[in-house]
């Protein structure tokens, strides 16, 4: 994608990520069932992309696949993940992968509040991370860590000498971001970065994400089950349901005029601080798991207020309309837009 750039130029430009036809399956109920199914999507270089959907929709699995780190017994059964300057991550192994995880993609894991080693100080663990990547200049590494920590409004000396239990939830989350950025990652992935935090800590972590994203020229993916978090942060939003991307587009447009009934349902189900409370509507039913995802037709049809007979027969194809992509028969009918197969979608996005 950026073959005409030299390696040095690439480092100064935000990296793009292109996911194409990605399928990841887990064994369940005696068969291989897809947690992520034929997903294509781009992370625009230099932008924040938000990935939103209920628990179990496949967000973490998709994000782990970006580093070729799908947990066993999961299996990538189709597709590719291209990162500028790295190539197809899914074909890498061993030392190639080590170059991706850390220096390429910085990853803040879901529940990373609890992922620090309780027996070692933060400083020791940062050094361990550097050593495991063969970093010789540990002094420089610590300097960078100190800068990042201070950048996040924390006292570096205190944080580096602290154990996990001495840090609040918000502080641990910030330390998680420091770990992710320590090796100069170009792509930052944050999985549910504020889910266990209170509103004030959430707000300050969101501010920090915005700031490091901008200051370090990153390409960022933020995952959340909360449309509010994505709405506050993301330039583009990807809505996932049952392993599929059901809607994708520019965030403000999606919030102003959601096309897919699932996106509409997510938005209507948010308790809001202004406006008429009686307009809020609970999303009916519950999110499916691998065993209960409908095998044929639209995966959302059992919870969908607009479902029609055709929705039970075939999967709705992607519709492209004004920079938006969605997969819904009813929305396509009212869109007057072009219906696109997968190939066209990729060409257009």
């Amino acid at each position: 994608m950026t073959a005409h750039l030299t390696a040095a130029e690439q480092r100064t430009r935000p990296a793009g990520v292109a996911v194409s036809d990605l399928t990841v399956a887990f064994p369940a109920g005696g068969r291989e069932l897809p947690a992520v199914s034929h997903v294509s999507l781009d992370l625009t270089p230099g932008k924040i992309t938000g990935l939103v959907g209920e628990s179990g929709s496949g967000k973490s699995t998709l994000a782990l696949a970006l580093m070729n780190a799908v947990p066993k017994p999961g299996l990538v059964t189709s597709g590719s993940v291209h990162i500028d300057g790295i190539g197809n991550v899914l074909s890498l192994t061993g030392s190639g992968l080590r170059r991706v995880r850390g220096p390429g993609i910085g990853y803040v894991f879901q529940a990373s509040q609890n992922s620090l080693n309780p027996l070692k100080t933060v400083g020791k663990q940062l050094l361990d991370l550097g050593r495991s990547h063969g970093e010789k200049n540990l002094r420089g590494l610590l300097r960078r860590a100190r800068e990042l920590i201070e950048d996040m409004g924390l006292d570096a000396v205190r944080v580096l000498s602290s154990y996990q239990h001495e840090l609040s939830g918000g502080m641990r989350q910030r330390v998680g971001i420091v770990f992710a950025l320590l090796l100069n990652a170009q792509v930052l992935v944050l999985d549910e970065p504020t889910t266990a935090l209170d509103m004030l800590s959430q707000a300050s972590v969101l501010e920090i994400i915005k700031r490091v994203h901008r200051d370090l020229g990153l390409t960022t993916l933020v995952i959340s089950h909360d449309l509010g978090v994505v709405g506050e942060l993301a330039d583009r939003t990807v809505v996932m349901y049952a392993g599929r991307v059901v809607e994708e587009g520019e965030t403000q447009g999606i919030l102003r005029d959601p096309r897919h009934p699932y996106t509409r349902g997510l938005l209507a189900a948010m308790p809001r601080i202004t406006g008429d409370l009686e307009l809020a509507r609970a999303l009916p039913g519950r999110p499916p798991d691998l065993l209960t995802i409908p095998r044929a037709g639209c995966v959302f049809r059992e919870r969908c207020p607009l479902a029609m007979p055709v929705c039970a027969d075939s999967e709705p194809p992607d519709t492209l309309s004004g920079g938006r992509r969605f997969a819904c028969f009813a929305a396509a009918g009212s869109a007057g837009a072009t219906s696109a197969g997968h190939a066209e979608t990729e060409a257009a996005s």
């Binding site: 609040s168 209170d198 509010g228 102003r256 948010m270 601080i273 609970a282």
Partner: protein, 335 residues
């Protein structure tokens, strides 16, 4: 009715002998009227759970008095307290650990109902009928959930089971402590609506504890809101007043922290953030919020401002310089 006056609770610090004591609650006054909705908001560590536990009799207090339906708790014997506290039931934030994983939902509800049947002198066959009735009330299908174990249910369904179990003892008050914070946003509204319905249909009063002001608004728009900071009430009034016209800078920070749905909302023009993170170990002189307050002046370090209506405000507050600020998101012009 529950009336708490001057409730104080201090814990010995957790960091050994050198550590400072934690003032979890400082002279909290609170009234929960029969059938009323009261919300208690603040960031984590501000004392919300401690208050909830005290109201449920799960935790003692060091100062002040708790009066339940006219009876001052501290003057009662243990034996007299139990039936009073039975009227107040707690819904925890974690529906995953609240239910015994080795028992079916049928047993989880059947056991307390068997006890209740004996108390009320009901025959054994009353139990199954009541169990089905309670499940209907919380929106669960008895045929589906009764034979299942907790891990087979979603977080939202589990929380409904927890609520049904609390209802087995016919409580008058439910204390919901972060009851939806571990549940997907998409499923929260269903639980919040249920709490609202229990109030309107059964007349159960509600103490709703949360760090998320929007959920407090949903369950208790017609009720009272208490904003608590480091164990002290800093603003208290009708929910609508405090949300729409907050005067304490801390309340304003909490309201500012609610994510703005850009495209359909715009940040309030006065949106603000605290100057610094909370330093629990430092006990500043004067107003406790001063080190984080963007509007602090020199004399804020003087005396701790008492809760009152300085400036002729509708609500009570504890700020020396109360001022209305537009911090809540507003609908976007082009939405």
């Amino acid at each position: 009715m529950i009336v708490a006056t001057g409730i104080t609770r201090t814990f010995a610090g957790r960091g050994g002998r050198r550590s400072t004591p934690v003032h979890a609650l400082r002279q909290v006054d609170l009234t929960i009227p029969d059938g009323g909705a009261v919300s208690f908001i603040g960031e984590s560590g501000c004392g919300k759970t401690t208050l909830g536990r005290i109201l449920c009799g799960l935790e003692g207090f060091d100062g002040g008095e708790l009066t339940i339906d006219g009876q001052p708790v501290s003057r009662l014997r243990e034996r007299q307290r139990a039936p009073l506290f039975r009227r107040i039931q707690m819904i925890h934030q974690d529906p995953y650990s609240a239910l015994n994983p080795t028992r079916t939902i049928a047993n989880i509800l059947g056991d307390p109902l068997a006890l209740r049947a004996r108390q009320l002198g009901k025959p054994d066959d009353w139990i199954a009928g009541r169990r089905a009735e309670l499940l209907g009330l919380v929106g669960l299908d008895p045929g589906y959930v009764l034979p299942r174990y907790p891990h087979m249910l979603s977080g939202g369904m589990r929380q409904r089971v927890v609520i049904a179990r609390a209802l087995t003892v016919d409580p008058e008050v439910l204390v919901a402590d972060e009851a939806v914070s571990m549940i997907d946003v998409s499923l929260r509204l269903g639980i919040l609506r249920l709490l609202r319905d229990l109030r309107s249909e059964l007349g159960i009063s509600l103490l709703f504890i949360t760090h998320d002001v929007a959920t407090a608004r949903y369950v208790g728009q017609d009720g009272e809101l208490y904003v608590i900071y480091r164990g002290a009430v800093v603003e208290h009034g009708s929910t609508d007043t405090v949300i729409q016209r907050p005067v304490h800078p801390y309340s304003q920070c909490l309201l500012s922290a609610i994510p703005v749905l850009r495209g359909i909302e715009e940040p309030g023009p006065d949106r603000l953030i605290p100057l610094a993170p909370l330093e629990e170990r430092v006990e500043p002189p004067g107003c406790l919020f001063r080190p984080r307050c963007p509007f602090a002046r020199d004399d804020c370090a003087g005396r701790q401002p008492p809760l009152g209506r300085l400036g002729g405000t509708e609500q009570e507050h504890a700020c020396r310089y109360p001022q209305n600020r537009e911090v809540v998101a507003v609908p976007a012009a082009n939405a």
